[in-house]
Amino acid sequence: MSENEPRPAAHKPAMSIEKAQKARRKFLQSVGLTAGIVGISLLGYIPVSSARAPRLRPPGALDEADFLSSCIKCGQCVQVCPVAAIKLGDIDDGFGLGVPYIAARDQACDFSCDAVQCILACPTGSLTYEKPDFLKVRAGAPLAHAPILKAKEKDAEPSLNLKERFGVARLARPASCLAVQGKGFKGLARGADFEGEMRYVDVDRWAPIPVRDHPYERDICDLCVTECPIKDAISLQPFVNEAGDQRFMPVVQEQCVGCGVCEMICPVDPAAIVVDAQAVWKEAAR
């Protein structure tokens, strides 16, 4: 945009050449601004399309694409969570900016709210108790029956209003699992610096406490099994290893909702058991 740009047509006497050039420059700059901002906004697609590992979304989340389209990025779910498990995505999440996720290893969802408060708080139905009819349900996502919360087991209504799982736990590193090695565990599950919290019914039914304030002592490590908040989601199964020794192994069962408590509490680093975000129950999917 300099002196050598083409002169405006001579048959437009209503506007001076200078004025016409100015208008033309303004128009081109406006087009540039539009292209620039829209181009930048579309960059958000890169992290979404090339996501290495999907994010663990809060319970009741719609399937990823629908979740991203319906979330209004207000963080009301963040505000109601008693253990502050829910975080909001940053700009490196692209279109996932401001969208809630759970980093289970740091702070899992332990359902200490009893009622899945984040779903209740969501104003747009991104987190929902009841999926609208027009959205399809992935095979292996629905739970066989409403998950029973161990903490509420003796209540009149012991179940959580949750129809689909938001992930599935998996023994990703069996070799490092203490139970598989035949080892017990004594001490703080995640060390003295760990900031994660959990609700322990025998300590306080209503308020979660820091995990570092709750030491364990087990002959065979079974923290992932005992600390799992959901009934029939995981159990410790005996097996005989290659050397012929009697050992135990945590086995994830179909009632697993994907809350990530097992991943948070696992005392080895990196965790032997992890939650696969947005995964479905494979046997049911087949």
Binding site: K26, F27, Q29, S30, L33, T34, I37, V38, I40, S41, L42, G44, Y45, V48, A65, D66, L68, S69, S70, C71, I72, K73, C74, G75, Q76, V78, Q79, L88, D90, I91, D92, G94, F95, L97, G98, A121, P123, T124, G125, T128, P132, F134
Partner: protein, 321 residues
């Protein structure tokens, strides 16, 4: 009615035009004003001398803006639960409030509206119909405040000829509004929300800062070194959405031609100077005129006007009283 259409067109980007017909009353006022040139100049200087420069409306507005945003922050931090959520969506003592532009984009992208979304959107719609649409921009939006401060820096640099201001076509904002709406429908992602500095700042205040603030910083840099108030003037679809909502609002800044000396101080401080086109000599067709939907009711012109020709008014209230 034609004035009303012109205002809407002006908001969408059309250049203001001279009125075809000026009412007899205004013709008389203008005649009397300029009948005696010496008296006119004397009166003008008199008004200038007696003008106590105040920042009354600016200070009130900053106080409201900061208080509103702090209410969000403290509702979470101190768990006082009065205004929970962020600017995009929240609950005021339990009642859903949902930002109109964010709601629009969620509806367009997700193509499904649940009851709470509808209730919250409708409540906020009514609120801003009453309070004047774009009042949201100047009285609530945290980016507006930051941009207002950096605008001072920009003007200082322009004054010293260190930078020059580059104007874009105001219609660009309308194009952005349409493009972002289209992108939401086609891609199914609320793309504007990921770059909206309003949402980013609101969440950063409440939930803590993040990398996204870098984007807001870049926008402010662009405004300081390239184009005055570029985001609010030429890009932000939130402003256009609220502008449309407040088009019929009774709360407005109105212009009284009788008191105006047509010096144009107001246009120099205005975020949307085209709404003050009526203050140019010969542009006002009626004795009293509302500034229209694109006015953010920020009150800077009200503060700076030495003669009280610009004031806040509630339409119809004067008649009632």
């Amino acid at each position: 009615m034609s004035r009303y259409l012109d205002l809407l067109k002006g908001m969408l980007g059309a250049a203001p035009t001279k009125p075809e017909k000026v009412s007899e009353k205004v013709q008389k006022i203008m005649f009397l004003k300029y009948e005696d040139k010496d008296r006119y100049i004397k009166e003008k200087l008199h008004a200038r001398d007696h003008h106590i420069v105040s920042h009354k409306w600016r200070n009130r507005r900053w106080a409201v803006l900061i208080a509103t945003n702090l209410l969000f922050v403290f509702s979470f931090w101190l768990d006082i639960q009065i205004l929970e959520g962020a600017l995009t969506a929240s609950r005021f003592v339990g009642f859903h409030l949902i930002d109109l532009n964010s709601a629009l984009h969620v509806m367009l992208a997700h193509k499904h509206i649940i009851v709470n979304l509808f209730i919250g959107t409708f409540t906020v719609f009514l609120l801003w119909v009453l309070l004047g649409g774009r009042s949201f921009c100047s009285w609530v939006c945290p980016y507006h405040l930051l941009a207002e401060w950096t605008e001072k820096l920009h003007l200082w640099l322009v004054d010293r000829k260190i930078v020059t201001d580059h104007e874009f076509h105001r219609g660009t904002r309308t194009v952005f509004w349409l493009l972002f709406a289209l992108l939401s429908v086609v891609t199914g992602y609320t793309i504007f929300e990921t770059i909206s500095p309003t949402g980013i700042l609101s969440r950063a205040l409440i939930y803590g800062p993040g990398l996204a603030l870098g984007w807001v910083f870049l926008l402010l840099l662009f405004e300081v070194f390239w184009s005055r108030r570029a985001w609010c003037r030429y890009v932000c679809p939130i402003g256009l959405t609220y502008g449309a909502v407040g088009a019929l609002s009774p709360l407005q800044v109105s212009f009284h031609v009788e008191h105006c000396f047509h010096e144009g101080d107001c246009r120099k401080v205005c975020l949307v100077p085209h709404v003050l086109d009526v203050t140019i000599k010969g542009r006002a067709a009626e004795e009293t005129l509302g500034l229209g939907p694109d006015c953010t009711r920020c009150g800077l012109c009200v503060d700076i006007c030495p003669t009280g020709a610009l004031r806040f008014e509630v339409k119809g209230l004067a008649k009632l009283l």
